[in-house]
Structures are given as C-alpha cells and as structure tokens.
Amino acid sequence: MSVLIVDHRLCNIDSVARAVEKCGGDPVVSAAPQAVGKAERLILPGVGNFAEAMAVLHKTGWVSAIKDTAASGAVPLLGICLGMQLLASRGEEGGGTEGLDLIPGEVLKLAPSDAAPRVPHIGWNEVVQRRADPVFDGVDDRKDFYFVHSYHFVPSDPATVLSTTPYGQDLVSAVRKGNTFGVQFHPEKSMKAGAQLLRNFLALQPC
C-alpha cells in the first residue's frame, strides 16, 4: 500500500517512513504535492512551529492538495503531533495562524499547572480511549504512548475526540472526523503500541 508522507522539511521524516515500512506499507516521502495522486494513505508528520509549517505547506501547494484529498474521502489522512495540530481551524502559535481546518478547533499553548508543572509535555503517558475506533484495535485502553509537545489541540466538537491523556487536564490525544485522523503522540516512537496503531490505520476501510 502506497503511503505518502508529507515532507515539509521541518522534522524527522525518516522515523515515520521506517515505521510505515515495518507495518507493511510502502512509504513515499515527498516535498511536492504532485505525488498525492497515487497515494492510498496520507501522513502529515511534524514537530516544530505551527506558523512555520503552515507557511511551508502554503508555499509548496500542499494546503490545497491535503484539503482536496480529505474532501475526496477515498484516502485516509493521519496527522502526527504538529501534523495533528495543523488539522485544526487555527493555531495561536506565532500570533494566530489559520490551520487546514479539517477538524474544527483551536491549538493552544499548554500552561504549567500544579498537577502538570512541566511544559513541554515530554515522555510516556496514557492514552484513554473515549470511544471505540478501528485505529485502537488491539491497543489496550490506557496504554502508554510517547508525547513531546508544548501546544495542544482543543476540538470544538467533542464528537471528534477519540482519546484523551491525563496531564493536569484531559488533553485531547487523538481525533477523527470521517477519514481524517490526528494523534498528538508519536506512534512511530511508541514501539509496539505505536506500530499496532499504524497497522490499524493502514488496514482501515475508508468510510
């Protein structure tokens, strides 16, 4: 299965490509959206800055390519970490930037609190499944996944929330709207549980 990984040149793409390969997919890393035609899955990875990443996606033509793909409904899309946040309507990083607006909501900075004094949120934390979904097939509820982020996605429609993660508050750690998925954690760095989630994503029947 051809899995197109969007390369916006801001992050570590290799580990995503390697994980896809180990899970039985054929990763194609591309900085140009022309490659989207043959893809059966689209992955938007990313670490870094929301505004920088959106600027790159606009400049390279990825914004319309990703939106068209999502609108077609035939090719499931997975945003990872910053890639999940870019699915939102808007991010507050860098003074406020429009996102891809595929899953309504905002991306806000995590604020340190007594219960979660450290920001960034770095390390292994539980993913509490809020509703059954094929991407969690074979993944235990409350399984630890690896997180590394300073911002979090606050969806405006609770129905899009697939999982939350306890860190001072219930952070939204996975979202879905139709065939568009986002995960705040890094499945490619979450060893067995992460690989299971990726395999599930590859095995999905587009709805």
Partner: protein, 252 residues
C-alpha cells in the same frame, strides 16, 4: 499520568562507545549499533547519544552515522555533539534525531536556543549543562566537555536556557560522572525548582536507590545513566521495577 523516564546515555568517541570518570579516563565499552539493539529489545523509554569528541575536534556529530543508528532505533533519540548552528539542528533532525542537545554551542551563542526553538519547536531543543563544584564551594558551568569554565552559574543558566526556549534541561555533574556515588540531588533540585521545563538528572547513578533519591529529593523528571548499565549487572528494567514498587509512575 506522565511517567518518569529512565534514559541510558551512550557516549561516542572515535567510532566507539566510551565511558569515563569525571569526563576523563575514557574506557572503550563497545560499538554503537549492538548497544542500541540491546536497548531496543529492552524497550527503554528513550536514548541519549552524545559524540564527546565533536566539540574538541571542532566538528558536529556525524549526521550520516546518526542516520544509520536511527534506523536501529524505534525509541525516542536525543543526539548531541558539536552542535553550533540551526543548520546542525536541521541535519540531525532530518537524520532521525527526535531531540537535539546543545551545550558548548549555546554557551558561545545563547541565541542559538531562541532560533532553534523558533524554527523547530522547544520540544526538540535540549540544553545540556555540565557543572562542577569547585574547591571554593562555587558551582560553575563548564563547556568543551568539561574543559572550559563558562563563567555561568548552572541554576541561572538553566533558567536562561528555558526562557530562551529550551524544552528540556540535561543536567550533568562532572564531579559525580562515572563515580557511581549518587546524583548531585541538591543542585538538581535547585534547577528543577527554577524552571518549568523537564529536568533530566545525569552523573553519579550507581544503584537504584540513587535514582530514587534523584526523584524524591532532587525532583528530577527523568534519570540519565551510563556506568550503572555498562559496568554493573543493573538494568533499566530492574530500575523501573524498583522505582515502581516505591510509588513512582513508571512505564513497565
């Protein structure tokens, strides 16, 4: 709950893994790929890989070599050694590092932290701070792999690094390094209480009880260790069981 991390540290010099005492007396302890494979099979929380020869040789850790190592590594990987520019960050992130550690390069140019965190996000910028307790009782930051006093206080420097955008502090006691006599919990605590980013304690772990002390007395968020795993029978998995049995949140 977020889990406490136990992080093995791999120090690299002249194509070999090494471990010393007090940043000297380096002993070769093997090669990188087999060590990474062992930690991979044991599903450790994270790994730190530092090329300690890079800064003295005025070069950056070889990103092509990192690319090969990252292929073996499905756990999160922090890489450091001779990082001086945002271009260095870029090359290492592209090669497969999840986080980049900067030490001497940030002492020389603190603005590197601001720029790297703006471009790549705070979460991938690790400020590595090596400190020594001098005979006169002062505690000072050292750059160049412990070779040069930086004229900075580690608590103030950690705070500055975090304010500039570092997402994590890797705090290493040069005096305790390789001695296996316990972490410098006093200074770890002072730094942990001065910053709101995670603090990784390093230098001095000789047994699991030392690790517990660095968490309960030092308030560290993560524990880095090398000698204990290279030179004793103690393992990351057993360390985690020991700490879990004492009430810490651990990923088993």
């Amino acid at each position: 709950m977020l889990k406490i991390r136990i992080i093995p540290v791999l120090l690299y010099k002249n194509h070999s893994l090494v471990k010393g005492v007090g940043f000297r007396s380096w002993r070769r302890i093997g090669t990188a790929v087999p060590a990474i494979k062992v930690y991979e099979s044991r599903q450790v929380d994270e790994l730190i890989f530092l090329d300690i020869a890079a800064t003295p040789e005025e070069r950056m850790v070889d990103h092509i070599e990192i690319d090969q190592l990252a292929d073996e590594c499905s756990m999160p990987l922090t890489v450091g050694g001779g990082v001086r520019t945002t271009g260095d960050f870029h090359r290492l992130l592209r090669a497969g590092a999840d986080k980049v550690s900067v030490n001497t390069g940030a002492i020389a140019n603190p603005g590197l932290i601001d720029e790297a965190s703006r471009l790549y996000g705070s979460q991938c910028v690790v400020a590595s701070i090596d400190f020594m307790r001098r005979a006169d009782g002062c505690i000072e930051v050292y750059g160049g792999g412990g070779a040069r006093a930086a004229g900075k206080n580690p608590v103030a420097w950690a705070r500055e690094a975090a304010d500039r955008g570092a997402g994590e502090i890797l705090l290493t006691s040069i005096d305790r390094d390789g001695t296996m006599t316990g972490y410098d919990t006093g200074l770890i605590r002072r730094v942990a209480e001065s910053v709101s980013v995670p603090v990784i304690a390093a230098g001095g772990a000789g047994n699991y009880e030392h690790m517990r002390q660095a968490l309960s007395d030092g308030k560290a968020d993560a524990l880095a260790a090398a000698s204990i795993f290279h030179f004793t029978e103690q393992t990351p998995v057993e360390a985690k069981r020991y700490l879990a049995a004492r009430g810490f949140n651990i990923r088993i």
